[in-house]
Every structure is written in structure tokens, then in C-alpha cells.
């Protein structure tokens, strides 16, 4: 046979709760119980409030660079809602919603962006890794973490989050390939928000979908409406079930949009249309979830303002806690370098404010050394 077919496939996209509030019962029924849907919406409100205040802290000089999460709440939240607490969440920096749902104290995220490593000192029972600053590098850790659990015969899995831009990095490829070939139960969750700073997705991936990146590894893959928490929940639940049953990884591309600038150091008006932003403002995840709840009499204006007031109070408290923490001491920079500090580091630590570093007292002539 001169020409034969050696591979055939297709990729599906799931959307359940549309931005106009229409809901597909066939896929969506029973997916999220009513009280959970309310809880998720309330959580989104809290996160939105946090995001707004964090932004203002930066603008008023009380915090360093901050990446707004606004518009992307449904992705990590949907995943965290589905997953077990023993499953690892290996995130980038736009997953506040999922991390807070898991139980990360909100002040940790503020501390991180306030330039304080204590923001990354996380209760190990939460199974959370610190925010990843170097793009694309954390997926490999997610693979290693799930592998460690598999090695011990545990049923836990890992779920790692990253952007569209991150899929251009070599480490992304290596992580996907390791997971597929070594059968590691990791969910690769790509938040395709259309941009990597100023670079549009098509310059990171000229293929019609990012979901098809997974075909390179023969990996299960799907695209979902990432502003639709029902679609996210369904995709993650399917992927997690599959992972626990077969120990195989999956890929999820969630299409979403960052409504704000890349970070507070960015000005997105330089490179994108206000029309585009406007369009996505209509499609963001909270409006549609609110419509869904209101259609079912689970939510109304008074609950909305009550929750808003609560969110304001909670976040104000969080800011207070983050700002009131005592300053780190200068020598903190030495203390977690190694499990036990080597001698020459001890010397640097001991003398850091008393000498120039170069001239550690130990380098001065010993009594029995005569000056030439």
C-alpha cells in the first residue's frame, strides 16, 4: 500500500454555561450541586475583591508588581473544586481563585508580591507549590510530584496550570513527554488567555488549537470554554477520573481572557484593542454564573451586596495581616539556604553588618603571624 493512514484523530470542545446564561442540561445537569454553585460564585466574588485591592496596593506603592487575575477565575477554581486536597496544585501566578479554594491563606499571595519569601512558606498539607515566576518550568515539578505519589502507590495526582505562552518553552514539551511516556497522572491545564504579555496566542501557537499540542504525545486532550466553570469542572473531573484509573496524563486547553494588564508593570493598551477587551468583558465567568444562579433563584441583588460587603471586610483583614507582619530580619537570607549552614556562610551571616564582607575578621592576621 503506497499511501496508508497511520494516525487519525479529532479534538472536541466543551461548553455548558454560555455567556448569555444558556445552560446545556444534557452535559451540565448534576455537575455542580446548587449549594456548591453558590459557594463557587461567592468565592469568585471574594477573589475579585482581593484582585482589585491587590492592584490598588501596587498602585499606591504598598506592594510590588502584581499580575491581575480578573477574568480567569473559573479555570483554577473549577479544577480546585474537583480535585482532592491530596492532589498537587502546581501553579503559575493567575490561579489565586484555585489556591484560595484549596485553603491557601490569602495573605500568602500578598506577601509573595510584597517581596517576602514567607509568602511561599505553605502548609505542606495543602499540596501547593509556590507561584512559579520562570515561565514554563513548573510543569516538570508537577510530573515529579505525581510520580512520587505513584511510586509510593498512592492515588493522588497533580494538576499544573500555565498560560498559552508557556507552551512555547522546551520544558513544557519535556514535561508532557515525560508524563505520557512514563505514565504519570498529571493534568496539564493550559489557560489560553489570548496573550503572553504583548504577544498574541497565534505567535506562540499557529495551530488552530493549543489542545492539539497534546497529540504530539498521544495524550488525551480537550478544549473547554474556560470562562464556563461547568465546562471546566466536567473536563477536570473526566481527566482526574482517567488519571486515577489509568495513571495517564491529560491535557486541557481552557480558552479565557485576561481582562486586565499583564501585570501592574504593563500597559495593555499599547498592543490590544479596546473592542476585544469589551467583547470579553461580556463573556467573563462571573456574569454568566450569576445569571445561572439568578435563573434558579439561588442568588439576588441583596445576597450580592451582602457578599460584597463581606468580601470587602475579609480582604481588608487580609491586607492588614500582610502589612502588619514584622519585617524579615536581614539574616533570614542565610537561614534557609541549606538544612544546616556551612561554615563560610555562617561567617558571612555573622559579619554581614559589621564588616565589608571581604574583610571577615577571620582573615585578619592571627596573633602568631608577624607583619612583614
Amino acid at each position: 500500500m503506497p499511501i496508508s493512514s497511520v494516525f487519525e484523530t479529532k479534538i472536541e470542545r466543551i461548553s455548558i454555561l454560555d455567556h448569555d446564561g444558556s445552560f446545556d442540561e444534557s452535559l451540565g445537569k448534576g455537575l455542580i450541586p446548587d449549594q456548591d454553585a453558590v459557594a463557587l460564585y461567592r468565592h469568585m466574588m471574594l477573589c475579585r475583591q482581593f484582585d482589585e485591592i491587590a492592584f490598588k496596593l501596587q498602585r499606591s506603592g504598598r506592594m510590588g508588581t502584581y499580575p491581575e487575575n480578573r477574568g480567569q477565575e473559573a479555570t483554577s477554581l473549577g479544577a480546585a473544586y474537583v480535585l482532592e486536597k491530596s492532589d498537587w496544585l502546581v501553579t503559575c501566578y493567575r490561579e489565586n481563585a484555585g489556591l484560595f479554594w484549596r485553603g491557601l491563606p490569602m495573605e500568602k499571595i500578598l506577601l509573595h508580591w510584597m517581596g517576602d519569601e514567607r509568602g511561599n512558606q505553605i502548609d505542606p498539607d495543602l499540596h501547593i507549590t509556590p507561584l512559579a515566576i520562570p515561565i514554563g518550568t513548573q510543569m516538570l515539578h508537577a510530573v515529579g510530584l505525581a510520580w512520587a505519589d505513584k511510586y509510593r502507590g498512592e492515588k493522588s495526582i497533580s494538576c499544573t496550570f500555565f498560560g498559552d505562552g508557556a507552551t512555547s518553552e522546551g520544558d513544557f514539551h519535556e514535561a508532557m513527554n515525560f508524563a505520557a511516556n512514563l505514565e504519570i497522572p498529571t493534568i496539564f491545564f493550559c489557560q489560553n488567555n489570548g496573550w503572553a504579555i504583548s504577544v498574541p496566542t497565534k505567535l506562540q501557537c499557529s495551530a488552530p488549537t493549543i489542545a492539539q499540542r497534546a497529540l504530539a504525545y498521544g495524550m488525551r486532550t480537550i478544549q473547554v470554554d474556560g470562562n464556563d466553570i461547568f465546562a471546566v469542572v466536567k473536563a477536570v473531573r473526566d481527566a482526574a477520573d482517567h488519571a486515577r484509573k489509568t495513571s495517564q496524563p491529560s491535557f486541557i486547553e481552557a480558552t479565557t481572557y485576561r481582562l486586565g494588564d499583564h501585570t501592574t508593570a504593563d500597559d495593555a493598551r499599547r498592543y490590544r484593542d479596546s473592542d476585544e477587551v469589551e467583547k470579553w468583558n461580556q463573556q467573563e465567568p462571573m456574569i454568566r454564573l450569576r445569571k445561572y444562579l439568578e435563573q434558579r433563584d439561588l442568588w439576588d441583588e441583596s445576597r450580592q451586596s451582602e457578599m460584597l460587603a463581606k468580601a470587602e471586610k475579609v480582604v481588608a483583614e487580609v491586607v492588614k495581616n500582610a502589612e502588619e507582619i514584622e519585617d524579615p530580619i536581614q539574616t533570614d537570607m542565610f537561614d534557609s539556604m541549606y538544612a544546616s549552614i556551612p561554615e563560610n556562610l555562617k561567617a558571612q551571616r555573622r559579619t554581614m553588618r559589621t564588616t565589608s564582607l571581604g574583610q571577615d575578621p577571620s582573615q585578619l592576621p592571627t596573633p602568631n603571624t608577624a607583619r612583614a
Partner: protein
Amino acid sequence: MANLTLVQAINLALIQEMEQDDRVLVLGEDVGINGGVFRVTEGLHKRFGGHRVVDSPLAESGIIGTAVGLAMGGLRPVAEIQFEGFLGPAYDQICTHAARMRTRTRGGLTVPLTVRVPVGGGIHAPELHSDSPEAIYTHTPGLKVVMPSSPYDAKGLLVSAIRDPDPVIFFEPKRIYRAFREEVPEDEYTVPIGEARIVREGSEMTMVSWGASVIHCMNAIEASGRDIELIDLRTICPLDIDTVVTSVRKTARAVIVHEAPLTCGIGSELSARIMEHCFLDLESPVQRVAGFDVIMPYYKLELDYLPDADRIGKAIEETAAY
């Protein structure tokens, strides 16, 4: 003459080199319409088009690896890596290929590549946005490593780097990107790679530094009231050891200042060479004021990590008193 910041001086150098040599193209993350996250490539995309100012995918090894190919193919790519903390993924292409291609092929294929990289701490940036890896690339033969400390030098050195037939890592001290302005000729000029600059002459002691630390050295020297000779290396590799040695033979004392961690930093090489060449001249051990041997801390502690005029001042007194 124009009164320019370091960012503007670099921008001007890029524009002028692109104007006069078709082979020069710029590539990197966000260097196009956005003009780079520090706005160093501002206006270039509009002026020269997407053909010559290329927004690359988010992949540092890809940027350097394709740039190596572009350079082997006869062009003069200027690649931007967004922060020195993201040089890591490109380390292999830089050290395994850019640095080796000429000698591997005995001159058959060469890599006239410039890699522009913002470097150093002090701007309250997130993790991995404040490091100083110049020693890593200096320990790798086959590269040149440059770090200007002023707008004038920045423009002149970048022009030299772009025209250099070999790969140059051009570190831009981000802390002083906009810290001050300086008169910079609009006309073409170059500052040669490999020549240190005597910032001020002095007889009591030699101080050697580069990049943003040079300013702190000046402050410390002024505060000390002593007659200290300050040398700005400008080029880290190849090292202009003659200028340093000549100075130390005169002053008999030396202090070296840099941001990178002490151990195996450029300071160690300078110290060793000063001792080798000025052994009989030295009145006191060469002192190094450097970052501690710890990971550059998040920004609440970064100023406690970075050498400052206070620590440099202590070294001056200790060295003078030895």
C-alpha cells in the same frame, strides 16, 4: 549631543545600527509593538517593521538557537532576553554553540550575535528579576561579556558589540536604566570592547567595579574623603587586566565591588590576578565587596544583600587601615 538615559542611549544605538546595516535585526519576547518590557526597543517595530523587529515565541533557547543560525547565515541578530533570570533556558545554546562555533569549525562558521540582557537588582522586582550572572558567561571561553554603567558607554559599547564578529553578552544594569541622564553624541562613535575606564584617578587605593555598582562606589569614595582611583571595567571579558594592574602597582591597595555572589564571582578572578601581578606591591589583601553567597532575596531584603556605599565604605577603611 542629546541628554539621554541609558535606555534611550541603547535605543539610539539600535536605531543607528539598523539604519546603517541591513543585516541587523532584533528579536525577543515583546520587543515588537510593545517596545520591550523596559521600552528599550520602543519605536523600532514602527520604524523597521516586523521583518526586522521580531516578536518571538516565549522560548529563550529558541531565541538564542535561531539567532545562532541567523548569525551563521550571515546576519547580525540582536536578541533580547527579558531578564537575566531567564538566560537559564538559553544557557546551553549560548555555551554549547554560540561560544564554540568559530573554534569548532576553525573559523568556517561564525556567530556575530549580540544578546542584550537587563541585569542586576535594586528595582524591587519579583524573584529571578535581580540576579547578576556575568561570571558564568565569563568562565565560558568564546564569549565576550560587556556591562556599561553610563549612557555614553552603553551606546558606544552596543555599537561595538553589534559589529563584533563574535558573540557578545551585553548586560544592561536595569537599576540605572533611567536613573540619570548624560550627554550622548548623536553621531556615530564606538567604545571598544576590552577597555576599562578610569572613572576617577587616585593614589591611595584602587577600586574596581562595573554596572550599577559604579555609582555606589563613587558615593562611597566621596564619603570617604580619600584619594581613590575608580576603574569601571565596562568589559568583563576579555578583562582589561593591564589597566587594573597599572593602577594597583601605583596604589598598592585594591577593593573590588560587585552584585553577584562572592564565591567564584568576577571579584575572585580580579583578586587572584592582582595578587599574581602585584604581589610585591600590595600593602594589604585585595578586598571583595560582593553579594553574599545566598540566593538574591526577594525585594524586602534586596538592599541588605546588595553592596552599598556603607559596605563599600567599610572596605575602604579596612583596606586603608591594614
